[in-house]
Amino acid sequence: MKAESRLESVLDNQFFTVTAECGPPRGADPEVIRKKAGLLKGCADAFNITDNQTSVVRMSSIAAAVILMQQGLEPIMQMVCRDRNRIAIQSDILGASALGIRNILCLSGDHQKFGDHPTAKNVFDLDSIQLIQTVKQMRDESKFISGEEIKSPPRLFIGAAENPFADPFELRVVRLAKKVAAGVDFIQTQCVFNLDKFEQWMRMVCDRRLDENVYILAGVTPLKSLGMANYIKNSVPGMDIPDELINRIKGVPKEKREEEGIAICVESIERIKKIKGVKGVHIMAIEWEEKVKEIAKRASLLPRPEV
């Protein structure tokens, strides 16, 4: 075991793994996290805590991850390269490990243009691949980026994201290969709505036998409304929602659209389970945490295994 995280055990023991997402609040109230923890407990094996997602200032991912742990849930601390240089990144990695956090998700980070402080200066001292290398070197070689020795190395299971739907498509598998070469342990993909394209991507992943060297979890997001579906389709870069999905939501009366969104999500999970090389799902119910249990249950993912 690299980090002795629960997530690592579930994956190592070949269970079809479930992760979910928990966004920290835009304030200092820990109750918001505790309430979300109550809704999410038992629904997944580990829970992502986003790091100032979409460049909007929120409670720090380390703090929110610790609050989640106090509720008995295992966090996956997200870390972006946008806001910290290598000094702050390594310092936060040590701090997170000291606090008992055992999973990290290494991300470049959305550009600050999309957030609530578009006039901010960004950092990007490292990119996401170099961040993976950094955590791995710190954990496995007990060395800082500088090469100096770490007395007590951090213990973290290393994750990263990949977007099979961004361009250039042919580069998406190669980029995954770079992340694997950098030492990533697990991958969570961007939300999968276009299953045909995802299957095509996974075939390319398996052709390169990358699935043998990294655990891949497919991202899913329940669509809450037609407005949300249209917004994601038209305004979120790198997202792919097929027209037939939009039409399916459009085709049911307004009051039944939430249910349709859940049904689509459950069907997607059922189909994802059959795709070669996929080891689990990552349920991103954006500000809709109360539905994660229902989705997991209907997709026959509950109860989660004891490991």
Partner: protein
């Protein structure tokens, strides 16, 4: 070259508001080529200042001159004769020129008429785009001659982020995705394998992170 653009006239007017005798100084270097601060632009700005101030009901004496370059001391020297004759200098050079004129002439107010934008190229008549961040350690040999530091909005060194769509950057559809350009050119040259190499963590100490930079060439010193 260094690409700049003129500040809005209102901003320039408010900067020089306390002064009654102003010298507008153009630069014959980069800003002449990118039509921001050469002889032509000096003439246009000077007459705009005269007109605007006449409208406001006060008179300002605006003189004009353009020197070869504002980043070389010998060309700045002739400006010295204006010190005492005018109250302020409005420099139409890049930020380096504005500072060097102020540094050399010492006892006179020097104001910037331009916003210095970037190191770039003339993509077509009237269109300039950024190419270089002057990081001090050129890596163009590894990235098919296209710089990821200057051309990727996040300066990512190992490929495009998840926001690259149809060749465009998530920040703005007017911006080409730098990594799409790099990939296309690698492919064109049959160098796809090069993308698979991980570019290591960068040494930014040669960039502005190492503090203000200096180059000394002993062989050229007098």
């Amino acid at each position: 070259m260094i690409i700049a653009k003129r500040k809005p006239i209102e901003k320039i007017l408010s900067m020089i508001a306390p002064h009654r005798k102003v010298l507008v100084v153009g630069c014959g270097g980069c800003v002449t080529v990118c039509s921001a601060g050469g002889e032509n632009e000096v003439r246009i700005l000077s007459s705009a200042l005269r007109m605007a101030q006449a409208k406001e009901g006060y008179e300002v004496e605006v003189q004009e001159t353009t020197i070869e370059r504002q980043c070389d001391p010998e060309y700045i020297e002739p400006l010295r004769k204006f010190v005492g004759e005018v109250d302020a200098i409005l420099s139409m050079a890049c930020g380096a020129g504005v500072q060097f004129v102020a540094e050399k002439l010492k006892n006179i107010a020097v104001y910037p008429a331009l916003d210095t934008s970037f190191i770039g190229v003339t993509e077509e008549q009237g269109v300039w785009t950024e190419r270089c961040h002057a990081c001090g350690d050129c890596k163009l040999d590894r990235t098919a001659g296209i710089c990821p530091i200057a051309r990727c909005s996040k300066s990512l060194l190992n490929g495009p982020c998840g926001g690259s769509v149809k060749g465009k950057c998530e920040v703005n559809p007017e911006i080409d995705c730098g990594w799409q350009l790099i990939w296309d050119r690698l492919k064109m040259m049959g160098l796809e394998k090069r993308f698979e190499e991980i570019i290591p963590i960068n040494d930014w100490s040669t960039s502005r992170d190492g503090g203000p930079r200096k180059i000394v060439r002993e062989d050229l010193k007098l």
